[in-house]
C-alpha cells in the first residue's frame, strides 16, 4: 500500500510525535523513497527461511532469584523533570 500523509500521521501518533505540516511533507517524501528501497527485499524468496532475532545462538540466560537492596530513591528521582513525595509526577491520567 502506498504511504500517504495519513500513514505518516497515524505512525506519528503511535510514536507520540507531533509533526508540523512541513515535517510531514518532508518525512512523507523521505519515507516513500526509503520504503521503496526496502522493497528490494521482496526479490528474495524467504518462504523457508527462519527469522534471526538474535545473531548469537545462546539460550537460557538467567539470574538467580536473589533480592538485593534497591536503589536510593533520591538517585532514581534525580533526573525527573517533576517529582513529588518520592513519586514521578505527571498531568492527571484519565483512565
Amino acid at each position: 500500500m502506498e504511504i500517504t500523509k495519513n500513514t505518516i500521521e497515524h505512525i506519528a501518533n503511535l510514536s507520540r510525535l507531533d509533526l508540523t505540516e512541513e515535517e510531514k511533507s518532508m518525512l512523507l517524501f523521505d519515507m516513500k523513497q526509503i520504503i521503496a528501497y526496502m522493497d528490494k527485499l521482496k526479490e528474495l524468496d524467504t518462504s523457508k527461511v527462519k527469522p534471526t532475532a538474535h545473531v548469537m545462538q545462546i539460550n537460557n540466560v538467567f539470574r538467580e532469584d536473589k533480592s538485593e537492596p534497591s536503589y536510593p530513591k533520591e538517585k532514581l528521582l534525580a533526573n525527573a523533570p517533576l517529582s513529588e513525595g518520592g513519586c514521578f509526577k505527571v498531568p492527571k491520567v484519565v483512565e
Binding site: D30, I34, Y37, L41, L44, P51, A78, P81, V90
Partner: protein, 493 residues
C-alpha cells in the same frame, strides 16, 4: 614530539619507566583540548580538574607499584552514549541534555579498574543515528584532516579526537558502521568486536541486537590493548558471551603467510570512489606480497543488507527511544495541555529530525499489516546474510573491502538525502547483522589528502585474526605513520 601524540603502548613505556607521570600526560591532553577542540569540536564535555585529580590518584598507585596495566594513567574519552556515573551522558540529544546517570556502564567500570583516566565525553550523531555526526544537537565535529568535512559517524567525535591527538584512545559504539566508517574518514584504527564480546550494559541503546561497543585507537597494538581491557563476560548483559577470552596482544604477529582473503566483488563495483578502490587494491597487493592468498567472491546480498539493516535498526530504535517521554528523565516540554500532549511535545521538541525519521520508519515496519512484509522479512534476510558469511568463512579467514564508498565529504553534502546517507553504510552493516568483528585500519590517502580505511571482517571471535592481519599490514606499510597527525598542526589558529 608531544606526549599527546603517543600511542598507549608508547605512553605506557614512559609511565613504567617513570619518565612521565599520569598527571603530566593528562594535563598535556587537557591543554591540547583547550587549544584546538574549539576548532575540532570532538568533545561534549571535558573533565578538567576531575581528570587531573584522578590522574594524581592513579600516579600514587603507580608510584607504589600497585598498578600493572597498560591503561594505568592513560587518558580515554568516551562516546556520549555510554553511561558515566555522575557525568552527563547526553547521546548528543536535547532529550538527554541534562541526564546524569547514577551508574557506570560495564566498560567504564572495566576501564576504571585498569586505572585509565576519563577525560571527557565525545560528540556523536543523536542517539547514534547517522553517519556524519551532523545529527548532534549540540555541535558539529570537524574532520581533523579538513575542517570543512565531516568526521564520519556516529562515533565522529571519537574518531576526530583520536586523530587530532585529543585523547590517547576513545570508546565508541558501532550499530551499522559507527566505529569503522569514522575511523576510515579520520585515519585511525577502529574495531567493532563480535556481538556479545563487550558488555552493552550502560550503552544507551539504539538497536539492541546490532549495537556493539569498541575501541578507536592510533594503531593496531593499542586496539589489542584496549580490547583486553573492555571485553569479557558480564552477567548484567544477557547477550554477553561467556567463554575464555584470549590475550589479544598475543595476536600482534607480523605474519599473514597462507592467510585466505576474500574480497566481495559487490564491494568493489558501482558506487565505490575510484581512489578508495585503488587504495584497497593496493592493500590487497601488499597482503599478497606478504604471502596471503586473495581472491574475489560474490557477496550477493550486499544491497539487501542495507535494506534489512535499516528496517531492523529502526524498528528496535523506535522501541528503545519510546522511553524518552518527559516523565522519568530527560527533556519535558514547557507547555502542554494534558498527558498525551506532554508526551508528544516533549518528544517532538526533544528529538532531532533523523531520530524522528527512524522512529517513524521503525514504527511503520512494526505496525499491524506491515510486520511480515518488512520486519519479519528483514529478520529472514538477516538469516540469509549470516548464511552467506558462514559460507564465505568456510573458504576465507577474512573478508576484505573498503569501509566506506568515499572519503570524508563536506558538511551538508548528504544532509538532504537520507537514503543517500544510508547507502553510505553499505560495506559496514552486514557485519552488524551477522554479529561479526570488523577492523578498520588506514590504507592510504586520496588526492585531497583525506585518509582511506581498509576494512577486515572475520568470523565470530575472529578478533585475533583481524588484529594479526591489521598488525602485519601496519608493520609493512607506512600508512599508519602518515595517518598520525603531528601535534604542531594547529588548524590555522
Amino acid at each position: 614530539m608531544e606526549l599527546c601524540e603517543l600511542t598507549i603502548h608508547e605512553m605506557n613505556e614512559f609511565i613504567k619507566h617513570k619518565k612521565v607521570s599520569a598527571v603530566e600526560i593528562t594535563k598535556s591532553f587537557l591543554r591540547r583540548i583547550e587549544k584546538i577542540d574549539f576548532t575540532i569540536g570532538s568533545y561534549l564535555s571535558v573533565l578538567g580538574e576531575d581528570a587531573v585529580k584522578r590522574a594524581v590518584e592513579v600516579q600514587k598507585r603507580i608510584d607504589k607499584g600497585e598498578v600493572n596495566s597498560y591503561l594505568s594513567g592513560i587518558p580515554v574519552a568516551i562516546k556520549d552514549n555510554i553511561c558515566t556515573e555522575g557525568i552527563k551522558t547526553t547521546c548528543a540529544s536535547k532529550m538527554l541534555q541534562n541526564f546524569v546517570p547514577p551508574y557506570n556502564a560495564t566498560v567504564i567500570k572495566k576501564l576504571l579498574e585498569e586505572d585509565a583516566v576519563i577525560i571527557g565525553k565525545l560528540n556523536m550523531d543523536e542517539f547514534a543515528m547517522g553517519s556524519s555526526t551532523e545529527n548532534s544537537y549540540f555541535k558539529l565535529t570537524k574532520n581533523p584532516w579538513d575542517i570543512d568535512r565531516v568526521p564520519g559517524g556516529s562515533s565522529g567525535g571519537a574518531a576526530a579526537a583520536v586523530a587530532a591527538n585529543l585523547t590517547a584512545f576513545a570508546i565508541g559504539s558501532d550499530t551499522g558502521g559507527s566505529i569503522r566508517q569514522p575511523a576510515s574518514f579520520c585515519g585511525v584504527v577502529g574495531m567493532k568486536p563480535t556481538y556479545g564480546v563487550v558488555s552493552r550494559f550502560g550503552l544507551i541503546a539504539f538497536a539492541s541486537s546490532l549495537d556493539q561497543i569498541g575501541p578507536l585507537t592510533k594503531d593496531v597494538t593499542d586496539c589489542a590493548i584496549v580490547l583486553n581491557s573492555i571485553t569479557g563476560y558480564d552477567p548484567m548483559d544477557s547477550t554477553s558471551l561467556n567463554f575464555k577470552y584470549p590475550d589479544y596482544t598475543k595476536a600482534l604477529v607480523n605474519d599473514v603467510k597462507g592467510l585466505k582473503v576474500g574480497i566481495p566483488k559487490e564491494y568493489m563495483g558501482n558506487g565505490l570512489d575510484s581512489e578508495v578502490k585503488t587504495a584497497v587494491l593496493e592493500a590487497v597487493k601488499v597482503l599478497k606480497q606478504l604471502g596471503a592468498q586473495c581472491e574475489e567472491f560474490s557477496f550477493s546480498l550486499t544491497e539487501h543488507a542495507i535494506a534489512a539493516y535499516y528496517i531492523i535498526s529502526s524498528a528496535e530504535g523506535s522501541s528503545n527511544l519510546a522511553r524518552y517521554d518527559g516523565v522519568k528523565y530527560g527533556y519535558r516540554a514547557e507547555k502542554f495541555s494534558d498527558l498525551l500532549d506532554l508526551y508528544k511535545k516533549s518528544r517532538s521538541e526533544g528529538f532531532g529530525t533523523e531520530a524522528k525519521r527512524r522512529i517513524l520508519l521503525g514504527t511503520y515496519v512494526l505496525s499491524s499489516g506491515y510486520y511480515d512484509e518488512y520486519y519479519k522479512k528483514a529478520l529472514q534476510v538477516r538469516t540469509l546474510i549470516k548464511n552467506e558469511f558462514d559460507e564465505a568463512f568456510e573458504k576465507y579467514d577474512v573478508v576484505l573491502g573498503p569501509a566506506a564508498p568515499t572519503t570524508a565529504y563536506k558538511f551538508g553534502e548528504n544532509a538532504d538525502n537520507p537514503l543517500g546517507m544510508y547507502l553510505g553504510d553499505i560495506y559496514t552493516v552486514s557485519a552488524n547483522l551477522a554479529g561479526l568483528p570488523g577492523l578498520v585500519v588506514p590504507c592510504g590517502f586520496d588526492s585531497k589528502g583525506l585518509p582511506i580505511g581498509l576494512q577486515l571482517v572475520s568470523k565470530p571471535f575472529g578478533e585475533s585474526t583481524l588484529l594479526k592481519v591489521g598488525f602485519s599490514f601496519e608493520q609493512n606499510t607506512d600508512h599508519n605513520k602518515k595517518a598520525r597527525i603531528r601535534g604542531e598542526l594547529e588548524y590555522g589558529i
